[in-house]
Symmetry: C2
Subunit: 132 residues, 2 copies
């Protein structure tokens, strides 16, 4: 069967790479370094429904994404979230925060409209993650 | 060295149990079945700084907490979040949501004041988790 990305994720984020378990996306919001991990498994909405070995892989891919995000200038805290209240396909947000960012100290989800990337900044970040 | 729970977590949640990695707490908000997992390791703020074997344990304890929460009446979606913007001690929220809950479909964090448990409902839920 084929892995299909939810149209909302397709619309809101850019493809970066396929890691062993997850499709890695860049959320199109230049205000935060914000990766989204989507396990390339079908019809999943909850982390508990991954096989145990896939859960371990997911955790390691979350940690890898967390290091990417933590390494960006200005980031002082990494936020990780799997909500899925609007987009049921299982996906995990991994993003960098700092005091004074638009949503600080609250969560980013649902806070305010995104600010799309300039092409050059987007491509630089995508290239950086691909080179890992 | 001694594991110490952050005073804010101590104040906002009840002790349920110590699992192999995490202290398991019940958030004192009767509106959501809401567990908090706190790895019993010192001076950690980010999941990436756990040892790889502890990360695997954390993932399995998140999955176990997720099953508890998903099994509660009315829950249609599990939300998982590790933010730490206000409380730096590494902790993971695992809670149950449904359309029509107070914060739906947004995140619960920072949404509205908590509604404390009645003692009997709190003790029933704590007892249920302890019996797992």
């Amino acid at each position: 069967m084929t892995f299909l990305l939810h149209p909302r994720l397709e619309a809101d984020a850019f493809f970066i790479a396929d890691w062993p378990l997850c499709r890695v996306l860049l959320m199109n919001d230049a205000r935060y370094p914000w990766l989204i991990l989507v396990p390339r498994r079908e019809a999943l909405t909850e982390m508990m429904d991954l096989l145990v070995q896939d859960r371990a892989l997911l955790m390691e891919e979350i940690a890898k994404a967390g290091e990417v995000v933590r390494g960006r200038t200005g980031v002082t805290k990494v936020n990780i979230g799997a909500l899925g209240n609007l987009v049921p396909q299982l996906h995990v947000h991994v993003l960098g925060r700092h005091p004074g960012d638009p949503a600080w100290p609250g969560p980013v989800w649902g806070h305010s409209p995104t600010v799309p990337y300039e092409t050059s900044a987007r491509d630089a970040l995508i290239g950086e993650v691909r080179s890992l």
